[in-house]
């Protein structure tokens, strides 16, 4: 075990897989000589050479398209979007080509798109989004969103080994703020399995990504019997873990930084009401950003993104219900 930041854990996982498997290579804007906008691939070009660490033009459509072609030919590309927001430019290749090839032609497309997402640093509307719900609406894509350093490594390794296209959401706010013990060497966390981040019996907070540490802090400060379920994978969703937690507590708060409508929260709420209705002791609630772009202005951004006090208040209200 070694203590790593979330960002170092991503680097470590990627490096391990590139060392282990010749078919793995990465590509993206400024990831080679510069080491990536956030330095995830710092030192990669030196270790693996320019053939496996490709600097690409500013053309996301091309990056994703190249991934699809390489994956069909047996490679395992890992693309970096400089910001998750930019995936919009590569959307057609991702959603209509990568996600559907298996269904149309029986071809597997083992590729990973790394998506630095999330706000909180005054990045404004083009550099702060949490676009996971876009991919949840697109059959054929798996979606993961780690919240800890250990999972950042383990889920990336599983994403690379998975035969499907995987959208890997790495929250920029966690990059250097989250640290933890991470197993060295080979470490994979299976896709589709949620994790109980904190055991409790009175309220289930179902979260992922940046909302997990927020929920943990809220639960500690409130000192209440709150369970926190870290989804880790958003597609496929771990329905069994969600239902087990709801059946235990009877109260549900779903928390994410992404916008509200038709998001993960809506999906989980629907699952809970369909399959755990008779276990509910309170209305299912969501704590999310409202349906607006992320503002540049720091005070405005703070009012849009769920804050610790919002989390505590939502928990208190549900506990009191």
């Amino acid at each position: 075990m070694a203590e790593m930041t979330y960002l170092q854990a991503i680097s470590d996982g990627l490096r391990e897989e590139m060392r282990r498997d010749e078919a793995v290579f990465c590509l993206g804007e400024d990831i080679g000589a510069f080491g990536g906008a956030f330095k995830v691939t710092d030192g990669f070009m030196e270790e693996f050479g320019a053939d496996r660490v490709l600097d690409t033009p500013l053309a996301e459509n091309m990056i994703i398209g190249a991934c699809v072609g390489a994956a069909i030919e047996g490679m395992k590309p890992v693309a970096e979007m400089q910001f998750a927001d930019f995936i919009a430019c590569g959307f057609d290749q991702l959603v209509n080509v990568a996600g559907k090839l298996h269904y149309r032609q029986g071809v597997s497309v083992p590729m990973v798109v790394r998506l630095p997402s999330g706000g909180g640093f005054s990045g404004g509307p083009f550099h702060s989004q949490n676009p996971e719900a876009w991919f949840l609406q697109s059959p054929g894509l798996k979606v993961v969103a780690p919240a800890t350093a250990e999972d950042a490594k383990g889920l990336l390794v599983s994403a690379i080994r998975d035969p499907n296209p995987v959208c890997y959401l790495e929250h920029k706010g966690l990059y250097r703020h989250v640290k933890g013990e991470v197993p060295e060497g080979d470490h994979a966390v299976p896709l589709g399995e949620a994790r109980i981040a904190r055991e409790g019996g009175e309220l289930s907070v179902i979260a992922y990504g940046s909302s997990v540490p927020l929920a943990l802090q809220a639960a500690e400060e409130l000192d209440e019997d709150i369970e926190i379920l870290d989804l880790r994978t958003l597609n496929p969703l771990d329905a069994d873990a969600i239902l087990a937690s709801v059946e235990k507590t009877g109260k549900v708060l779903i928390a994410h930084e992404a916008t509200r409508s038709c998001g993960v929260g809506a999906e989980v709420a629907s699952l809970v009401s369909e399959r755990a209705f008779e276990s509910l002791d309170a209305p299912v609630r969501r704590l999310t950003a409202p349906d607006v772009p992320i503002p540049f202005s720091p005070p405005l951004e703070q009012s849009v993104l769920p804050q610790l006090d919002d989390m505590k208040e939502a928990c208190r209200e549900l506990l009191a219900y």
């Binding site: 009175e202 009877g250 109260k251 209705f277 008779e278 276990s279 509910l280 002791d281 309170a282 609630r285 209200e317 009191a320 219900y321």
Partner: protein
Amino acid sequence: MSSSPTDTQLIEIVMPQMGVSVAEGTIVEWSKRPGDWVERDETVALVTTDKIDVEIPSPAAGRLAETLVEPGDTVDVGTPLAQLDAGARPGEAHPEEHQEEAPSAAPQEPKGRPDEETDRSGFHSPIVRRMADEHGIDLSGVEGTGIGGRIRKRDLVALIESGAETAAEPAETERPLHIESPYRPDEPAPAAAEAPSAAPAEAGNGAAPGGDILPGEQRESMSPMRRRIAEHMLESRRTSAHCTTIVEVDLHRVVATRRELKEAMKRRGVPLTYLAFVASAVVAELDRHPILNASIDGDEIVYHDDVNLGIAVALDSGLIVPVIRHAQRLSLEGLASEIGRLAQRARSGELEPNDVAGGTFTITNPGQFGAVLATPIINQPQVAILDLEAVVKRPVVIDDESEAIAVRPMTNLCMSWDHRALDGAEAARFLSGVKDRLEEWEL
């Protein structure tokens, strides 16, 4: 939120089709007034029909623009009742809401926050209901610690762990098997007997001049259900040539059979009553006397292939007759189960319009309240109604030759029938057939 002008999109709320046979309904009251915001499926009005009371749900979310029918008005199915503006927004204030708003500048509570002022002690969440069912807890005796006094899951968990749950008294609905007398002084008197004791006679007897209210009187308008019953009963009296025929039945074999079967059926959740035996005998006998499973339509008699058996259920507020469809297909247990289910639904107000429509023969059972004779009124357009009276132990001659006397559980079956459709001999033959089936009941 932007305050861009909204488009008005008027949607009509119409009198819905409530079952096949209901043609019109009466607005009892509006639950919403013009200007109110209404969620989709929220109740906007209460409607009563001659069969049943119905809540009218809103077809969409919007603002109630206009009501077109006044409470008390009766209109045909399909008639527009109100206009709903589906283009309105919930945030837009009701014209009168401005006046209601407190002048203080206190910020509004954020939307979706539970209002701590509201009494929630009567609301039970799904898990609370389920736990109460599973543990037989009477929720009325539980103190809630949630907001507004709501009973929370944790309240029940604590109660169960403390082992102090107050088991709900299983409602003992079953009446004594036999009674010696129709009058049971230990029973609370029925509501009708609770009418104020006779008013002083000094004001004379009959209508007071000028409609003055006599001292010692209380007046209340009849409930819609009461009015409907009154109308139907008078109408039936005017329509049919009522005649009542009575047979005495010895139920000792039925009593024995019931004793034999009761426990097993109870375990299967089926309450086996004498009514079920009578229903079974009636259904079987109707097959041999189709004229009694019929209705009169003008100058024609309509014979029905199916026996749709109406069972009169007494409610606190009146009387309702849910119908067991295709009763001829049901065994004794099937009939008992249906009787139990429909009576339960009737008492909890869960009957739907189709549950009370299309009866072809009716059985009523005032005997459960101790009555021994009655002349029931026919449920139009049927031609007969059979009345099961109290089961009473009496000495009877059980053997013509030896003239031996025994104590037997006896009852009277009183059937009113329409002399337009049939004659007394047919009615008597039918009743004797039912009597024979009951007296010769084989396990």
